[in-house]
């Protein structure tokens, strides 16, 4: 076989060039192999890591919030199932359109719509965002049925906070609510948890104070996700730790009873164990529904809360400051005894008391005649205490007031505690730049003037009188997560038994001796007798002209102008166990308005928690009178 000459040089050229192309191919394949070696051998660790990052996504699991229970384990705050609709924004071509369709089933107001758009903006597109919560079963079923038409909507069952007793515990428990931008900023490393859809944090009360404990430890789920963020399977799961149970010192029954008794008034009541300081009941009325905060209070309803003259958002038992009025007289009496005035010392009360050219009036127009310390407390004689205050001076009174817990805070578990005010000449100089007048000492003798105390402080004051002068402090929490909180044994405040006996005896007279200002509101059942003290705190100044023409009766005054009604007491008198303070804002008189309420609450406390009858221990040994 032969190739013609002219073709042969074509052939040779072709062969050369084909060999060149083969060489190009060889080089190209070596380059490819080299590149593969680079990617799959040299850089494989780096790419393997990137692949894992691609593939494995950690999802936080919100822990179940801990329950709050009363001293007997009855649930005050818990979780319940919450039917909700979530939205995954990447799964819908048009978020607005989807919301529009959903709003045919569930109402979505403008405020919620704004919140949804904000949530979508700050989370990744595959992350579900809560659109509507707390759906009724009907609504939830409709969402489920219409799911094919609701692109991106994911029906879901979550847990939400539930307060079965709503208003009764509103001020103690507080509430949980959606995480705000400010909360997020403060959270720092906990941000991912707080960013979970529908996550709630404690905003007030116990929910706020023990937010961390109640919150628990978030679990995590390592899931394999595909390129669209959809979960394919779970690789590992850490269930986390549910929040701790918080056991309060409250008694559900007493709390509900006190609430029922105060409902309709602007009032507060505090019941406290005089030895341990355990708060058995802490009520402030009116209140709000914490469940509403959880779901987002309606704008109109919230405005109403804010603007109500009865201040439903304020926890009056801690933050309401009132002149203690006559309930302060025991402190003055004890200061007098400590200052060397005999309890048998008598003052003649003609119905008024003059200091310089100023006249101070006793509440009883005709006067009480000659009264000793016991009778002065029993009848709440003002003139006796005007005179006594002037004798011992403001500093002695202030010192005693502070020993009995006024003018200070106690690091109480519920936020918002106010210190009140125990005035002294130094205080006045510092705060007002004015000198102290003796007249101010005189009116301090009957708990008026600059003096301010909270109902909690009044309960503490009464408890310290009842326990024989030990500096018991209020506490609201018995245990967290199964661990009992230690009780600090109270220390003596430094007062004589004689002084305590005068205060206790006087209070006994108020309630149990005929003629006492609260005799009508005594507890007749043996072993339950209470010893109390009325207080009527004047809100307005009564002018000389008015006094001449006849002082207006409280009932004839505008609500805002009426006197505050106060009552403090402890019981049983023979073996004191509980102290109680009741303040009814603008309620009229202490004996008329506050004493009956206090009596009823105290009887309820004693009925439900009977105290073993025991010999009276005036020295107030705390252990001798403790009921098993």
């Amino acid at each position: 076989m032969q190739i013609s000459g002219r073709d042969s040089n074509r052939y040779q050229t072709f062969t050369r060039r084909a060999a060149l192309l083969a060489g190009v191919q060889g080089v190209a394949f070596i380059a490819l192999a080299g590149r593969m070696y680079y990617l799959q051998v040299l850089k494989t660790d780096q790419y393997r890591m990137l692949a894992e990052e691609n593939r494995v996504s950690m999802r936080l699991l919100a822990p179940l919030r801990g329950d709050v229970v009363d001293r007997f384990g009855r649930v005050l705050a818990s979780n319940r199932q919450n039917y909700r609709a979530m939205l995954i924004s990447e799964q819908t071509p048009d978020v607005e359109e989807t919301l529009e369709r959903l709003s045919r089933i569930v109402e979505i107001d403008d405020f919620t719509r704004k919140r949804i758009m904000r949530d979508i903006g700050r989370s990744p597109r595959f992350m579900p965002v809560t659109v509507a919560e707390d759906l009724s079963w009907d609504q939830f079923a409709q969402v489920n049925i219409n799911e094919p038409d609701l692109a991106g909507i994911l029906p879901d069952v979550g847990e939400t906070r539930d307060y079965p007793y709503a208003e009764e515990f509103a001020h103690v428990l507080g509430y949980v609510a959606a995480v705000s931008e400010k909360d997020l900023e403060e959270a720092r490393e906990e941000q991912p948890l707080l960013k979970l859809p529908g996550f709630r944090i404690g905003k007030e009360g116990i929910e706020k104070t023990y937010d961390r404990e109640l919150r628990g430890v978030p679990g995590s789920s390592h899931v394999e996700v595909n390129a669209y963020g959809r979960v394919i399977r779970e690789l590992a799961k850490d269930p986390g730790k549910p929040g701790a149970e918080v056991v309060l010192t409250l008694d559900l029954d007493v709390q509900r009873f006190a609430w029922e008794r105060l409902k309709g008034e602007s009032a507060s009541a505090v019941v406290m164990d005089i030895h341990s300081g355990d708060i058995v009941s802490l009520v402030s009325a009116p209140a709000y529904d914490p469940n509403q905060f959880n779901m987002g209070y309606g704008t109109a309803a919230y405005k109403e809360l804010l603007e109500s003259p009865y201040l439903p958002l304020m926890n009056k038992s801690l933050a309401g400051m009132y002149p203690p009025g006559s309930t302060f007289k025991m402190v003055v009496a004890m200061a007098a005894v400590e200052a060397g005035i005999e309890p048998s010392h008598r003052v003649v009360c003609p119905g008024h008391y003059s200091l310089g050219n100023h006249v101070f009036h006793c509440w009883k127009k005709g006067g009480h005649g000659a009264v000793n310390m016991h009778d002065a407390i029993k009848h709440s004689c003002d003139v006796f205490f005007y005179d006594t205050a002037k004798r011992i001076g403001i500093d002695a009174i202030a010192e005693m007031a502070e020993k009995f817990g006024l003018g200070q805070t106690y690091d109480f578990e519920v936020p918002g505690e106010k210190a009140g005010l125990v005035p002294t000449p130094e205080w006045k100089r510092g705060a007002k730049g004015e000198v102290w007048h003796q007249g101010e000492t005189v009116i301090a003798g009957i708990g008026q003037g600059y003096l301010l105390a909270t109902p909690l402080q009044l309960a503490v004051m009464t408890a310290r009188i009842a326990n024989g002068g030990l500096d018991v402090k209020p506490r609201l929490t018995r245990a967290i997560g199964g661990e009992l909180l230690p009780v600090q044994p109270p220390k003596p405040v430094g007062i004589s038994d004689e002084a305590i006996a005068v205060a206790q005896g006087g209070m006994n007279g108020v309630s149990n001796e005929p003629g006492g200002t609260a005799y009508r509101s005594r507890i007749p059942e043996p072993g339950m007798e209470l010893a109390g003290k009325t207080g009527t705190a004047q809100v307005r100044r009564i002018s000389r002209a008015e006094r001449l023409s006849g002082v207006l009766k409280n009932e004839d005054l505008e609500w805002r102008q009426r006197d505050h009604a106060l009552f403090v007491c402890f019981a049983p008198y023979d073996a004191p166990r509980y102290a109680l303070s009741v303040v009814i804002e603008h309620g009229g008189s202490g004996s008329g308005a506050a004493a009956p309420v206090a009596r009823d609450i105290m009887r309820e406390v004693l009925t439900r928690n009977p105290v073993r009858p025991q010999a009276k221990t005036p020295s107030g040994n705390p252990n001798s009178s403790r009921a098993g």
């Binding site: 593969m36 990617l39 393997r48 692949a51």
Partner: protein, 382 residues
């Protein structure tokens, strides 16, 4: 008319041709295609539907086409070269017209019973037409300027039409194929140097005429991190999947990146990535080696052939195949910008598979008729 028996001694009968057919080569192709079936099975999460089974069926049809094409006398193919080219060109024009009427990019021609991508057909017929043309020229004639007008038009016309589609990848492939044939026919080096310089000079002009998505692909190629979720996503995810495969891979059907859809287009253009992830460096090198054997075999066919037409057809088919393999694999490894070029025999796709098997049929026809000498003259055959 000449008696062909003068060259070959005798006309080959069909049985002789079947014996001459290189069955080992077909087996090699089947091996490569099977790797494709396996990967398509894996992409579908362990299912023959929707891809693996159909791909296998297509390969079966492709094998029939290949054998049939191989049985046809090479001289007949030479005679049909221009008519086939004309048909392909007509189809390209038709696609352009339909696309214009339908207001959109159009690459497919629906013939009712089958959809054809005319640009794929053009790749094969261009080789035939150019081989036919250069067959008739002596080495000296090839480098004469006036003799270049026809082949330049043969290349330029379809390239222009394809660019209009717009399908830059195919246009470059057509130019490269044309260049290979010019080069193999013996065109002087200086023409290539001129052409190279001209291309460099034309780059700014071409750049200004590119569509945004085409420019983006170039940008993205130069810096994939620029837009990791947009156009850079493909390259980045492809490199992650490949790199994480390591030496031995994650195991068949265990490729997390591919199976979880991080990898786009994994059953078509990015199938090599999936193979690299699941079967590792070893699997990738095995496949590349198989490809390389195909290339060396087809080059050998070209070198053994005793007629210029056959040689040019063989080297044209070989180099087209090479371009496909190289552009695709280099793209998924991040060495080239993303261009829509499938991995031959492995990527899912009908027209590409069939036109490739047609081309291999031509190669086999050249192989079978390698000892046929065909005269240069215009009426030298038939």
């Amino acid at each position: 008319m000449l008696d062909l028996r003068r060259f070959t001694g005798h006309e080959m009968r069909l049985t002789e041709k079947l014996v001459e057919f290189n069955w080992a080569f077909l087996l090699l192709l089947a091996l490569i295609a099977s790797i494709g079936f396996a990967m398509l099975y894996s992409v579908a999460e362990g299912s023959f539907t929707p891809w693996a089974f159909r791909q296998a069926a297509r390969f079966g049809v492709g094998v029939c086409i290949m054998i049939s094409v191989a049985m046809v006398d090479l001289r007949l193919w030479m005679r049909l070269a221009y008519p086939l080219y004309g048909v392909a060109l007509a189809m390209l024009v038709a696609v352009e017209v339909i696309g214009f009427v339908g207001m959109g990019a159009q690459r497919w021609l629906d013939l009712g019973f089958i959809s054809i991508q005319p640009s794929e057909v053009m790749k094969v017929t261009l080789i035939l037409a150019l081989a036919r043309y250069f067959h008739g020229l002596t080495l000296e004639e090839v480098s004469r300027l006036r003799n270049l007008l026809v082949p330049l038009a043969l290349v330029g016309t379809p390239v222009g039409l394809v660019v209009l589609q717009p399908d830059l990848g195919t246009a470059i492939l057509l130019i490269a194929t044309g260049g290979v044939l010019f080069f193999s026919a013996g065109l002087r080096w200086r023409y290539f140097i001129f052409a190279g310089a001209a291309v460099l000079a034309a780059i700014p002009v071409i750049w200004s005429r590119l569509h945004d998505y085409q420019r983006n692909r170039v940008f993205t190629f130069l810096d994939p991190e620029r837009d990791p979720l947009g156009t850079g996503y493909h390259i980045l995810q492809s490199k992650i999947a490949l790199g994480s495969g390591g030496i031995f891979g994650k195991g068949f059907m265990e490729g997390t990146q591919s199976q979880l859809n991080f990898l786009p287009e994994k059953h078509t253009d990015f199938i090599f990535t999936m193979l690299g992830e699941e079967l590792g460096l070893v699997g990738g090198i095995v496949l590349l080696t198989l490809y390389f054997i195909v290339l060396m075999f087809s080059l050998n066919v070209a070198l053994q052939c005793r007629n210029q037409f056959g040689r040019l057809v063989a080297i044209g088919v070989s180099m087209t195949f090479f371009f496909y393999v190289f552009i695709n694999t280099a793209m998924v490894m991040g060495l080239l910008p993303v261009v829509g070029v499938p991995l031959p025999l492995v990527s899912y796709g009908g027209t590409a598979m069939l036109s490739l098997m047609f081309a291999f049929g031509l190669l086999m026809s050249v192989y079978i008729h390698r000892n046929l000498e065909i005269s240069r003259g215009p009426s030298a055959f038939w």
